[in-house]
């Protein structure tokens, strides 16, 4: 049932509402009216039972058509291995980490966002995935900036200023999760275009719409706005949560962005995270550069000064001092308001060094008696024999030959980015 109404090319600005009924569980739920009532509606009996727990998704059919639970542990590990291989391919393509991207994420909070075809609602799924996306975005683009815009009641509103701190963006988003009224693509584009025109020219201007609605209520001619965005080189991308809409597709085609429509929550997350690394198009377009940067230190406790960004009196320990002009700034990374120097903290750059020196993928091995390192995972000391009743497959680092469990394998490659075995050796790590 997946895919009905997706990619079907819903012509016109107001595509018919074909989105509900995409999910298996809604197949025999003909009553669309009940579905679409906004706030304060009572949960259906079946929704109550499954509101938090979509247990049917953990089932799959075997060859004879019987249902059986998905073996999640192996599934997770094989998904991870696929990502790992993709990533090493991407590393070979040498994607620029130092691209300075200015991205506005536009979140549609019109009443379509309250629909419950995503559990518990589109809005909640968008917020959850956006949080993961913002963290991943800063991990992949340590020098870039993100801002949040919402659309509600046909009006777009800037939730956060464009900035480099993931925490403040996420907090602002979580505090503003209500939806009502219509959506307006044009209003949002006008607003974002205005803000993006103020950024320095070496920055790449991007907008990413997370669009729940199937229509747009615009005050004027949206084609003119699209033309304007094209002229000021704002790359617009849209991820739809419902069905394909002509105007979104047109917008993305015109401005060089990508247009995708999500099938379900995990697909949506996947599509969203694809926007975290810079698109190959801009990565190629940008020439390699040496950027002059300052690494400010925290000021001394007893130094009282006025920060250049908020014009407030701060003690030195609350901010950083530009090494060139000695002006006080509150947050890093930023651009010095006085002398224009790009200011970053060195840990901020170090956040992406693991991409320079990635951990080689581990080899799968089966357990043999008398091997180096004994019978425990070198990382977490868990026994490698009979983990969860499965066969004794685990992994081995090709460099240091230490053995690890699946869980450590994932942790080491996805989060830690160090091989504990190689780091615990002098000979091979130096």
């Amino acid at each position: 049932m997946y895919g009905v109404g997706v990619g079907g090319g819903g012509g016109g600005f107001n595509a018919p509402s074909t989105a509900s009924g995409r999910r298996k569980n809604q197949e025999d739920d003909d009553d669309d009216e009940e579905e679409e009532t906004g706030d304060g509606r009572v949960l259906e009996a079946w929704e109550r039972a499954y509101a938090d727990d979509r247990s049917w998704e953990a089932l799959q059919e075997d060859e004879s058509g019987l249902l059986r639970p998905i073996d999640t542990k192996n599934l997770v590990h094989s998904q991870y291995r696929r990502r790992l291989l993709l990533r090493s391919a991407a590393a070979a393509a040498r994607i620029q980490k130092g691209l300075i991207r200015y991205l506005y994420i536009v979140i549609d909070l019109s009443k379509a966002a309250s629909e419950m075809d995503y559990r518990p609602s589109r809005m909640a799924v968008v917020a959850k995935c956006a949080e993961a996306f913002i963290r991943e975005f800063f991990d992949q683009n340590p020098l870039s900036h993100v801002g949040l815009v919402t659309i509600k009641d046909g009006i777009s509103h800037r939730l956060t200023e464009i900035g480099g701190s993931p925490e403040s963006q996420i907090n602002a988003l979580m505090g503003k999760l209500e939806c009502s009224g219509d959506s307006s693509l044009q209003n949002a584009l006008e607003l974002v275009n205005g803000y993006l025109n103020q950024i320095p020219s070496y920055g790449h201007k991007e907008v990413l719409f997370l669009y729940s609605a199937l229509n747009t209520c615009d005050p004027g001619d949206i084609m003119e706005t699209i033309e304007k965005c094209k002229k000021s080189k704002v790359r617009c991308s849209v991820i739809g949560l419902a069905a394909e809409i002509f105007i979104c597709k047109h917008l993305c085609e015109e401005t060089g962005g990508s247009y995708t429509v999500a099938l379900d929550e995990s697909h949506f997350k996947e599509l969203l995270l694809e926007h975290a690394p810079p698109s190959p198009a801009i990565a190629e377009y940008a020439a390699a550069n040496l950027i002059k940067m300052g690494f400010p230190q925290r000021g001394a406790e007893d130094l009282i000064s006025i920060c250049s960004c908020h014009k407030k009196i701060k003690s030195g320990a609350e901010g950083y001092i530009c090494p060139r002009c000695k002006v006080n700034v509150c947050e890093l990374p930023t651009e010095c308001r006085t002398c224009g120097l790009t200011l970053v903290s060195s840990p901020h750059l170090a956040r992406s060094y693991h991409h320079l020196f990635p951990v080689a993928p581990f080899d799968e091995v089966t357990f043999k008696l008398g091997q180096k390192g004994g019978q425990n995972c070198f990382g977490c000391q868990q026994s490698l024999i009979n983990t969860g009743g499965q066969s004794n497959i685990h992994v081995c680092c090709p460099k240091c030959k230490h053995h690890f469990c699946f869980d450590c394998d994932i942790y080491i490659h996805e989060s830690l980015h160090n091989c504990p075995g190689c780091e615990s050796q002098r000979s091979s790590s130096r």
Binding site: L191, Y195, N289, A317, V344, Y353, H417
Partner: protein, 292 residues
């Protein structure tokens, strides 16, 4: 469904992973002899375990050529022998074995200069984090983990990237890294670690009273810390060191492809090989200035 936030353990149950610097080059000339240090440490571990019988302590030794687990209170009790003194005695014997083994490896390796080398803190931190992930996996009801580094020897600049990777991973898992410096030099790496992960960094003035410092500052669990005024990390050195000379700089050039830092303008990046074009930077006037 049960309420997601119910915890079996109260919020003051801790898992403390202690990373101990066993660098022989440092301890040979240290003000506090290693044997005395070890007895301070064992008293500290003992008091942590006595604070709550649910507390969990793991000791990882960071040597010059290797790192290893030397004590795990979880294993000690599983065997049925609940005699704390006995298990800790075993730990100190294991520590001595580790030091001998580490010295053998250093001698056979030949890459370590006579002047000494840094301890492998990057390896020990990586092990500690793997162990903590295992505790996280053990279910929603686990003790609150933290890491305590007891460092004496100077930082190893060649471990910079690996140590920073560990720090960021600890930050993502919300594991604070505490540091108690038992030598004479401050550690820029561990200052940053404590600052980034929200841990405590301290360099005691009087090392003969090490146990008092450990018990008063580092024994406090994460929940109690919100009510205390623990030493704050002041004056963290955030300056970068250039890749070309390992010199500390406050202004420099950064490669836009790999973010390597250089103190001077180069034509080509020595890390990733990109060639730089000088022209591409600003054409600030090409854009119409439309403000709203």
């Amino acid at each position: 469904m049960t309420s997601a936030h119910s915890k079996l353990y109260s919020d003051d149950v801790s898992l403390v992973v202690v990373v101990v610097d066993t660098n022989p080059f440092f301890w040979a000339g240290a003000a506090l002899p290693f044997a005395d240090f070890l007895s301070h440490l064992i008293h500290f571990v003992n008091s942590l375990l006595l604070l709550s019988n649910l507390n969990h302590v793991v000791i990882i030794a960071a040597g010059v050529s290797s790192c290893a687990y030397v004590f795990d209170s979880g294993n000690a009790y599983a065997g049925g022998t609940a005699d704390v003194a006995e298990t800790l005695g075993k730990a100190s014997r294991k520590m001595e074995e580790f030091i001998k083994q580490d010295a053998r490896e250093t001698a056979s390796n030949g890459t370590v200069a006579d002047g000494g080398a840094a301890s492998l803190f990057s390896g020990a931190l990586s092990l500690a984090l793997c162990y903590i992930q295992r505790i996280f996996r053990s279910g929603t009801r686990h003790p609150q983990p933290r890491i305590l580094c007891l460092q004496g020897s100077p930082d190893g600049p060649e471990q910079y990237v690996a140590v920073m990777n560990s720090i960021f991973s600890a930050q993502r898992s919300m594991v604070p890294i505490d540091t108690c410096i038992v030598g004479t030099q401050d550690s820029a790496f561990l200052q940053q670690a404590s600052y980034i992960t929200g841990g405590v960094y301290m360099k005691p003035q009087e090392l003969s009273g090490l146990f008092q410092y450990l018990a008063a500052v580092f024994a406090t669990d994460l929940h109690s810390r919100t009510f205390l005024r623990l030493p704050k990390t002041l004056g963290v050195d955030f300056r970068a060191s250039c890749f070309c000379h390992k010199k500390t700089i406050d202004m420099g050039y950064v490669c836009s492809v790999c973010l390597s830092i250089f103190c001077k303008y180069h034509k080509k990046c020595s890390t990733c090989g990109s060639e730089f074009s000088r022209v591409s930077m600003p054409d600030l006037n090409s854009l119409p200035d439309q403000r709203q």
